[in-house]
Symmetry: C2
Subunit: 191 residues, 2 copies
């Protein structure tokens, strides 16, 4: 099975680590206390806040070349909860791909809450991860890993679709912060 490196040991990083290990993957968990680590995974999940993406890309760009790099961020303006901080015609994932031109960037996990990753359910539905990216092989391998861990996953198209995934993640977060839905419920997908 694959070795996956996860940057970030918060709610999202921990929940993703759990399901990947359930699926048989070996997971290396790193955070900012690890100084100059060697990245062991061929798949690297950046379970960090959006503002950390650029510095990780700068510090680890060489090590990330040739790897699959998964962006899970929702680039909200957390001072207003009224907009994203990326340009309207772009996305955090597109920005990351520009910073890491030799990596295969995927967008995933930004439309699911941590609790629903861990429980593998969103309401009565199996939690489903939407995955966007331009490299079909990298995307297929990642989708298989997620499914092995007990979640469902859907190929949401090219990395361009990260824009819609980030809009959806933004909307879901705002509704949860406003208590119109719970952080243990939210957007589910039925096929």
């Amino acid at each position: 099975m694959a070795t996956v490196t996860i940057f970030g040991k918060g709610n999202m990083g921990s929940a993703i680590k759990g399901i990947l290990e359930d699926g048989g993957a070996t997971v290396q968990a790193l955070d900012s206390h690890d100084e100059n680590p060697t990245i062991e995974g061929s798949i690297v999940i950046l379970a960090v806040p959006y503002p950390a993406l650029a510095s990780i890309a700068k510090q680890y760009g060489d090590q990330l070349a040739g790897k699959t790099v998964v962006d899970i961020t929702n680039p909200l303006d957390f001072s207003t909860f009224d907009s994203l901080v990326v340009p309207a015609d772009s996305s955090a994932a597109a920005e990351l791909q520009a910073l890491l031109p030799n990596s295969h960037v995927l967008k995933a996990f930004n439309t699911v809450f941590a609790a629903n990753i861990a429980s593998k359910k969103t309401g009565d539905a199996q939690t489903t991860v939407l995955v966007a990216g331009d490299d079909d092989d990298a995307k297929a391998e990642f989708i298989d890993l997620v499914k092995a861990g007990g979640l469902d996953a859907i190929d949401a198209g090219a990395l361009k679709r990260a824009r819609e995934l980030e809009a959806m993640g933004f909307l879901q977060l705002v509704l949860a912060v406003q208590k119109k839905l719970s952080f243990t419920a939210g957007f589910a997908i039925y096929k």
Copy 2:
């Protein structure tokens, strides 16, 4: 109860008519074969394709003044299924509001498929309509009508949020067209 006028007798218009009548509303259904009708509803739902919005606004702008006007469109480029035809920082609903400055424009129903309106279920969940708009009274009245008809509805915020609703509607449509999910399933919401 309210009187609602629905422009459009297609799948969406018919399904919306059905649930509103279930909730006790009186519905006037119109389409392009009706020449110069008198709009009877204080709430007017434009269940028409996006390209028809501008001509309806032009022809009926005076009659629509003071009314609640509901935009349900997904303004896709149907030649490519790869983008929306509205600017990235705008929405069909924002464009309609600009054309109808004296109406209270709401965005609603664009994230739910017709079959799930009629059945009132999306998978195992009650079908939930996300409603965005700047006039709180108009929005609250419309949400009550939808709920009376047996669907759930959530206030998704100001009309600015139509951008995220249209991104979500776009993504869901593309996934359905690609057969990654069914037009009788799709995005559900758990609270």
